[in-house]
Every structure is written in C-alpha cells, then in structure tokens.
C-alpha cells in the first residue's frame, strides 16, 4: 500500500509519516485540540450547526449530510446512544478507508469523539471488515493509547464527558457495509439488512438510537472544527464541499490514491493525475465511484466529480473508486464480473434481488459464451428495472445500476457477441 497518496490534502498531509499513527506524533501535529474544544467549550447544537454549515456529506457512498444526520439523534432520552463507524470498505474499487485506518487512526478517533459529543453517544463501535486485520490492529493500538492518556474513557480529557470505542471485526460479507446489515452483524447475527423505518437514529445498534458514519466522514470533522465552515467550503463545489480521497485502479499508468477537491474533473484525475492509459492503449470507459456506480464512456469524462454533476450523467460519486478500462476490454466480461459479485453477495431476503442478480449473471454469461439471443438485452434491462427501488436495502439498486450503465453506453459490445456468436475482443482480460 501507499503510505501517502500521490496528491495529498488536509486529510492525508501527514500519513506518510509513521509517527502520525501514534498519539505523540498526532499530538505534535496539533491532534486532539479540536476534540478538546468540542468537549470543554461547545454545546452539541453548536457542533451540529458547524458541521451543517460546512456542508460535509457522508463519504460512505450515499452522500447524506452529516450535520443533518447527527441532528436526527433523539435528545433527552435516558437510553444509551451509540455511534457506529463504518469501516467495512467492501465496495469493489475502494481502498481509501484502509489508508485512513492504517496511517491516521487518531484523526478518525478525534472525529468520532467530536461526533459523540454532538450526538450524546456513550460508545462507538468501529466495524472493520474482517480482511482488514492489520488496519484493525493499528486502530486497537491507537485506542489503547488514547485510553491510557485519558482522551477516551470515563472522563475524556478532563471534560466530564465519557466515551469509549470498541473495534468489531466483520467476517467477509459485503452486505455488512449497508448500515442496517452492519447493525445486525454487530449484534452477532447474520448481516441481513433491516426494514426501514425505524431508522437507526430511533432503533439502531442493540435497539438504541444510533448514527452510522464512514471512516473518511469522521476524519474530516477535526479539520472543520479547527479551521471553520468557510475554510472547508473553500474546497470542492458549492453543493459538495471539501476534498475526498479518490482511489484510481485498472488500466492506467499510475494507479493509487489521490486526495483532491470534490468537483475535480474525472478526465483530470484519469489523464493528468493518474497518467492516462497504458502505452499504445486508449481509454474506453471509466467507472467513477466503485463498482455499483454506472460507467461513463470516454466521451463523457469531462464531468466534475460531485453528485450534482454526475447525476446529470446518470451516475454517482459513490466511494470515489475510479476504475479505468481501456480499448482492450470486453464490456460483456466486465458485466460477467460485476453480476457474479452481486449474485454472490446478495443476502437473499428479497426475491427481486436474490433472483434478479442470478438471472442477470446467467444472461450475461450466456452472451459472453456466444450463446445469447437478440431478446436477451431487453430481458436484462427488464430484470434490472424490476430490481430498482423494490427491496429492503439499496443493494439491489447497486446491482442493477452498473448493468444499466454498461448497456446504455456499450450496447454494441453486447450486440457484437450476439451477432457473431463469440467475443470480438481477443486482447481482453480473461475470465
């Protein structure tokens, strides 16, 4: 892994420094000053309003306003309230949270502590995907240090506010990234998403009021407290402020992490930052935000990476995982990989999702083998349409969108397979 992104910003400025993952190193860079102010000198409403004014949006995929989400937590209840930090990072093409966990655990913990004060949460559960054993160890060490220094515990930094952080490791199920699947898993059950309402702010972890935020979302918070809402809005677009960490992968010269303002154009990321296609190749399409997000063809990469612009092109920012596909790539094979993943990871509760993901996979595999027929593409689109907006969680939508995107922009790849009865891309990656 990279210790620091190729382009750094306020989130990743110090991640290249090994000491930054330790309490002393973090404090030497001004760490925990913001939390101290929040705990000793700010009311919960002041914190919530500041985060609202900054316009921070969740970085876990859905882009919901963080200050708004915090304001949903009930006030004046005697029930214990919880925060959950979503470190499940399993959306294919995403690897930014891993960097923040491994290289800047205290930055995230400080954001959590500020969020805890804002919401009145007694405890935070950090749910780390099972495969991230090393990041989980680094985080456990950071928590131990913070506890030993009195930053966490019964009297955080002498403020009278009590908070503790528990790390729970998942065990290899993508659906546990969905926030209510995560809550079930945290309770020691199968990670099957819950029907909403009730939303987690009413009925969350162990039945208590709960707010779920992503690793990166929490990591922005100390910077907002230190430098203010106006400063934060100096990055990004009017509707999507701040930076984010883009993870560039696939067939490109310089795959890796890049912290850039939201609204940075996709072609700037792919060609200027990541160096463009491999020698002798041309870019064919780019998946802009992790595998669930619809692909864009090379003719549409002049789009600012922020949801208000991406939506006009029928896609979204997602997790900022930018996957680059070049002219060697068979888009039917891409569809095979994508639909296999969703078929395999569906939790099986909803018929449309369980059956639909299986059907889509079967049909695209048939087309790839050269055994597809003309009507198959309409069936695919019909199945995808019936999966959207019909299920307990957004997984089914996330499974339908990429197939719709591939057919919207690369229908000719599918038609060529059907017409010629074989794959016309001899140089494509093999299945």
């Amino acid at each position: 892994m990279q210790k620091a992104p190729f382009v750094t910003g306020y989130l990743t400025e110090h991640t290249g420094d090994d000491a930054y993952a330790t309490l002393d190193g973090y404090r030497a860079r001004g760490g925990y000053e913001a939390a101290k102010r929040a705990l000793t000198g700010m009311s919960p409403d002041e914190i919530v309003n500041l985060v609202k004014d900054a316009g921070l949006q969740g970085r876990g995929g859905a882009g919901f306003g963080t200050g708004m989400k915090w304001s949903f937590m009930p006030k004046g209840t005697d029930k214990p309230k919880y925060l959950v930090c979503n470190a499940d990072e399993s959306e294919p093409g995403s690897f930014k949270d891993r960097l923040l966990l491994e290289r800047a655990p205290h930055q995230m913990l400080e954001g959590i502590l500020i969020g805890a004060k804002a919401t009145g949460a007694a405890k935070t559960f950090v749910y780390v995907r099972g495969e991230y054993a090393h990041p989980a160890d680094v985080l456990e060490r950071a928590i131990d240090e913070a506890r030993a220094a009195g930053i966490l515990g019964a009297d955080c930094m002498g403020s009278g506010f009590a908070h503790d952080v528990v790390v729970t490791r998942g065990a290899g199920a993508y659906i546990c990234g969905e926030e209510t699947g995560l809550l079930e898993s945290l309770e020691g059950k199968k990670g099957q998403p819950r029907k909403k309402p009730p939303f987690p702010a009413q009925y969350g972890a162990f039945g208590m009021p709960t707010t779920v935020n992503n690793v990166e979302t929490f990591s922005h918070v100390p910077h907002i407290l230190n430098k203010g809402a106006a400063w934060f809005r100096g990055f990004g677009t009017e509707k999507s402020p701040g930076t984010t960490i883009f993870g560039v992968s696939g067939l490109v010269q310089r795959p890796g992490l890049y912290e850039l303002p939201l609204g940075t154009r996709l072609d700037t990321i792919v060609f200027d930052h990541a160096g463009g296609p491999l020698p002798g190749r041309k870019v064919k399409g780019v998946i802009p935000g992790g595998m669930s997000m619809p692909i864009l063809p090379v003719s549409q990469l002049d789009v600012p990476m922020a949801n208000e612009f991406l939506r006009e092109r029928k896609t979204m920012l997602g997790t900022g995982g930018v996957m680059v596909l070049d002219d060697s790539v068979c888009m039917v094979r891409v569809a095979c990989v994508v639909t296999y993943f969703f078929r395999d990871e569906s939790c099986g509760q909803c018929t449309q999702c369980r059956e639909g993901t299986g059907w889509m996979n079967k049909i695209v595999q048939r087309i790839e083998r050269g055994a597809g027929s003309k009507g198959d593409l309409d069936i695919l689109l019909d199945v995808a349409a019936k999966m959207e907006g019909q299920t307990i969680c957004a997984f089914a939508d996330a499974a339908a969108w990429p197939v719709q995107g591939l057919l919207r922009h690369f229908r000719e790849d599918f038609e060529a397979h059907i017409e010629h009865g074989k794959c016309p891309f001899p140089e494509s990656f093999q299945l």
């Binding site: 892994m1 990279q2 214990p80 990072e89 399993s90 959306e91 294919p92 093409g93 995403s94 690897f95 949270d97 891993r98 995907r129 099972g130 495969e131 991230y132 054993a133 090393h134 528990v166 729970t168 490791r169 998942g170 065990a171 290899g172 199920a173 993508y174 898993s185 945290l186 309770e187 020691g188 059950k189 199968k190 990670g191 162990f206 208590m208 993870g247 560039v248 992968s249 696939g250 067939l251 795959p255 890796g256 992490l257 998946i287 595998m291 995982g321 996957m323 596909l325 790539v329 891409v334 990989v337 994508v338 993943f341 395999d344 990871e345 990656f429 093999q430 299945l431």
Partner: protein, 155 residues
C-alpha cells in the same frame, strides 16, 4: 470442553465490551477459529452455551460469513482477488497459474493439507493488483514467480 481456557478468557473479555452478550459472537468466532482452524459442531455447541443461544443460531452465523469455516481447512489460506480492478491487471491469470502450480482448483485443499486456495472479492488493494492474501497478510503488486515463491515457503 473443546475451547481452551485461554480462548475462553479472551471471549469473556470481549463479552464485557457489548451491551448484549451476543454482540461478542463474531469476535468469539474469530478467536475460536484462530485456535481450532474451523468451527466444528462441538465447538458451535459450546459457543451456543456461552452465548445462551441455540447451536443452530451459531451455525447460521458461521455459514453466512465467508471467513468462518464449518469444515476443516488447510494449514494456510491463500486467497487471490479476482474482482474487476485485479482482473484487469492479471488477477485471474494469477489464480490459474497457482492452480497449476499446486495441482488443485480454487476452493480445494492440497492433499498434504498445506494450502486451501480460493478466489476472493475486492480486498481493498486494487491499485496494487494483482494481489493475494495468505491468512491475514496481504501481498501486493505480485507477479506469478513471486507468488509461487511465497507459496513454496509455506510449511
């Protein structure tokens, strides 16, 4: 009693961290599996007793999650990522080369019980493809020869 006293103490420490006992079930399964390698029926029964639930509820959880095993495994797990970013950069060629090298297919264990091979979905290392994990350790930016050498070193 199949769970060692040491692991049992670690499970009890985990239980303290959650408002409900059962919250510590996943951590407990990780701990037990570290000791035993897999979750045998008698282990599941003992865990059920510790968590005051039915054995079937433990087994449901074990079978839901890819990282828990309800049958014996090789001494080492080798998982190669074959999701899209890795596939684009040779992830599938790497699986095929390893299958040949070990004489087994993904999903199988070598006859000597040394290695269980699998392919896996995205592991959060896409920019450093192709990659695999051996147990809990990631190996990134691999080529076939380096990967074979890593496997040959496993006892």
């Amino acid at each position: 009693m199949v769970i060692s006293a040491e692991t049992r103490a670690a499970i009890d420490a985990q239980i303290q961290k959650y408002p409900q006992r059962r919250g510590a079930l996943l951590p407990a399964l990780h701990l037990v599996q570290k000791e035993k390698g897999w979750i045998a029926p008698e282990t599941a029964r003992e865990l059920a007793a510790i968590f005051e639930i039915q054995p079937i509820e433990v087994l449901e959880v074990v079978t839901f999650y890819n990282m828990f095993y309800d049958r014996p495994q090789g001494r080492h797990h080798v998982y190669v990522c074959t999701n899209l970013p890795c596939s684009l950069r040779g992830g599938r060629d790497l699986v095929h080369a390893i299958e040949q090298h070990l004489g087994i297919e993904a999903g199988e264990t070598t006859k000597d019980g040394r290695i269980t091979l699998g392919h896996e979905e995205c592991l959060g290392a896409c920019a450093w493809a192709p990659m695999l994990r051996i147990g809990e350790t990631y190996h990134e930016n691999l080529d076939v020869e380096t990967a074979k050498r890593l496997l040959d070193e496993l006892k």
